[in-house]
Symmetry: C2
Subunit: 494 residues, 2 copies
């Protein structure tokens, strides 16, 4: 007997606690019953369009409650949702839609440039406009009330070190175990409310929606990020926990000044890369417990998180692997590293992806006997606490967004005047890091900073475009021609 079958999470929550609050958004409260009925209605419109079980459906949407209904409607239909980062260029979106073989794209007027291009270049894809959904035809939807935990719920693209974006398959089980692992670490109670001001197209935001369903917990959805609004909402909506990245936390502490959050506020789940000691200490000075966390798209959010009891004693650590999960450090000779010795971080558990969509080769390269090679560097101290040194060695994290240097280098080097290019992150007081490029110009060619920038703007999401272009004679490379990015980083530290 296969016992990996459960009821659709939203449907189950509607049956269990219909009258509990599910969301606070834009001044209004919504119960699980409200959310179920709205999502059900949208599922009816999407079903009328032909969307059904197992189909891949791209979504390119803003961060609001209507988007949540669409995401949940797709779950009610057991479709596979390809969640597109809404800061990408239309070229990047088109690439991901093609790669995932999506049959539909659900988007909205704000992305008119993208959907015009999709209609033009990918005529096989049906485009559904969010604003028009409820004026479309409606049929009673065939809700998939039972889902298999191995079914793909969502696909999110991540670039990895090679520069080719890969679609990470996230199953219902991945999301469920991630939520369960978090609850076994941070605890849960029926007065919890989680503030979400991180993007829903990231696993950081999407996982809050899933926790809301699984815990039966109120999610306070705020977009855009605004420190003053957030502090006000923490008070008024009795928020107990929020997810944040360093940039946001800094702004929050600055806005807070001498004020304090209410004692019912339990703490901040801080992800998106290592945080500075100064920031962590400032949080402690504000009496805000920080649960530093380590996770990624491939682990359906957290896989290691500092526990409440250690949040003051182990400042700077991302804690221990959550109850369902495992983590180890492998040194350069391929063996498990000694305590305090750094190496690559490998992770395993039921929240870890089964692989990359349509990429068996890359999957086999990264996943071995359930262990995923993250490419990140870190160490475990003698008590087993994780310290992350470098995210994916060369990854640049800018305001919580991941930027893969290889992807940006590929674009810069495609300019006809460029012979070679190298990209690294430069410290930035607002964003944490910003990408900067080192460029070798071809003989007898010339190119301005502005021209390179506008060339990149066409092809890359704004946050990925290098903020500076340094002209150099040569990009330092090792014997196998791999860029020595640490050498480049040295040049900007001087």
């Amino acid at each position: 007997m296969d016992n990996q079958v459960m009821q659709n999470f939203l449907y189950k929550r509607y049956l269990s606690t219909p009258n509990r609050l599910a969301f606070h958004y834009d001044g209004k409260d919504y119960t699980f019953s409200d959310v179920y009925h709205e999502s059900y209605k949208i599922a009816g419109h999407l079903a009328a369009k032909g969307i059904k079980e197992s189909q891949f459906v791209g979504v390119l949407l803003k961060n609001n409650l209507e988007t949540v209904y669409i995401l949940f409607a797709l779950q009610l239909l057991d479709a596979r949702t390809v969640i597109l980062n809404n800061r990408l260029t239309s070229k990047e979106i088109l690439w991901q839609l093609r790669d995932s073989k999506a049959s539909y794209l659900i988007t909205e007027r704000a992305f008119d440039k993208v959907y015009t291009e999709v209609k033009y270049e990918l005529s096989e894809i049906q485009v559904v406009l969010k604003e028009a959904i409820d004026q479309e035809a409606y049929i009673e939807p065939a809700i998939v009330k039972e889902i298999h935990l191995d079914n793909v719920c969502t696909v999110m693209y991540t670039s990895g070190t090679t520069g080719h974006p890969k679609g990470v398959k996230q199953s219902y089980g991945n999301h469920l175990w991630s939520a369960v692992g978090s609850s076994l670490n941070l605890g849960i109670n029926d007065r919890d409310a989680w503030l979400c001001t991180v993007p829903l197209f990231h696993i950081s935001g999407f996982s809050i929606l899933m926790r809301g369903l699984i815990y039966g917990m109120k999610v306070v959805l705020i977009d855009p990020f605004d420190a003053r609004t957030i502090i006000e909402m923490i008070h008024k909506q009795n928020v107990t926990i929020m997810s944040s990245v360093s940039t946001m936390l800094r702004k929050l502490l600055d806005e807070l000044g001498e004020a304090r959050l209410p004692t019912t506020f339990r703490g901040i789940l801080l992800g998106g890369g290592p945080a500075s000691q100064a920031l962590l200490e400032d949080s402690i000075a504000h009496n805000i417990p920080i649960y530093q966390t380590y996770g990624m798209t491939e682990t359906a959010s957290q896989i290691a998180t500092l526990s409440p009891e250690d949040s003051l004693q182990r400042v700077g650590s991302a804690g221990k692997p959550l109850f369902p999960s495992q983590l180890k450090i492998i040194n350069e000779s391929g063996h498990e590293a000694e305590p305090n010795a750094s190496g690559e971080i490998l992770v395993k558990g039921p929240n870890v992806t089964s692989g990359y969509l349509g990429r068996d080769h890359e999957t086999a390269e990264k996943l071995n006997n359930g262990w995923l090679s993250t490419g990140d560097i870190g160490y475990l101290d003698e008590d087993g606490f994780l310290y992350v040194l470098d995210r994916r060695s060369d990854l640049i994290i800018s305001g919580g967004e991941n930027i893969y240097p290889a992807e940006v280098e590929g674009i810069v080097a495609a300019h006809h005047a460029v012979a070679d290019a190298g990209v690294v992150g430069m410290k930035d007081s607002t964003w944490g890091e910003v990408p900067v490029a080192f460029v070798v110009i071809k003989k007898n060619h010339d190119v301005s900073h502005d021209e390179l920038e506008s060339f990149c703007n066409e092809k890359l999401a704004k946050y990925k475009v290098p903020k500076r272009f340094f002209i150099v004679e040569k990009i330092p490379r090792n014997a196998s021609k791999k860029i020595l990015r640490r050498e480049l980083r040295k040049m900007i530290q001087m």
Copy 2:
């Protein structure tokens, strides 16, 4: 990739929170590190005896911390533990050991009559005496650090309506999902402490041990049950929750009198069959939230439980199925019953057993497409709340112990002077119910009450022995010769 693999729960908890308190027992505190090391040591002694992965090992032990170490040691070795009810007669124990094909029996001096018989009658079984374990040989145990969630962790026997005890297979996954389902309903926090004064050989007690490991929670272990001690421990040990059956709760409330439990006490998980309205109202008057629950050996404890928010509004209901699980009512024509119409309760979920040990036929009879027919009768109200009317239709619950009339009838009818017998439960102010027998005497035979009682005492655990024997002319039976127990029940109500 198979993602149903996790670390051994005790080992994981030792790695995660070694310094947290795991148990309070007999005036002393024990951390997870203490418990791991003690269990590891015992695993070494058991390994030296030859106990290893996948073997079936019977345990017949008292309710104390040393027993917990043995149960956990067997998990470290990934052996299958056949947990024997320590109130059974040696005949019953022998039967279960034979049926489970156990290779070992771990027991203690208190059960000398049983182990003498086992040694005599089941010479293929090695008997290990608890008191002698640490004087036995020791080898460094090969701890099974990763277990598959489908592996059988424990086997507990239950008699069912047919009277033949069947070994219920409980996997690691069953126990894990049961604990997770409970936490998603009742909440968890790092100040929780669960008081256990119910038997560890029952799923009610054993599941508390598993929750302790999975949540990283302190278990306050008390044996024997004593109302005054329990109230004292709730105060001194900051107990937040306890499991109880009606009999215990009645004694607790009587002992409490005008006094109140501390406000940190969250509530009582009340299982073991329907509770009287008077008892529930008295609990409310004492400001004690009651989470009525429905569950059984086959569901690794709770499958439906009243939530904290409903504990006052839905008095008498066992709540809704927990997040991972489902429940439905089937009427006599085999269809799902309307709200408020009663029928047989069917359950499904990852906490439901995969079946009965070595009994594919009975398993196939009871399990259909993941749905287990419980034999219990109940209904769901219009909001989906479960009301249990009758446990396994004819089941007698006496002080939290299940008694199956068919089993007792089989014994009584085996007496040479008895022609026919029927057994039902009679209300009892101390035990809730006690079994009573109706007996038809063979022509030209005679038998006294005392003789029937001592005949039963030889073959049945004391709590199963009928407290009264009524001589009747005929046992009422229906056309297919099934005993009409409701007719018998009418006779004792008059």
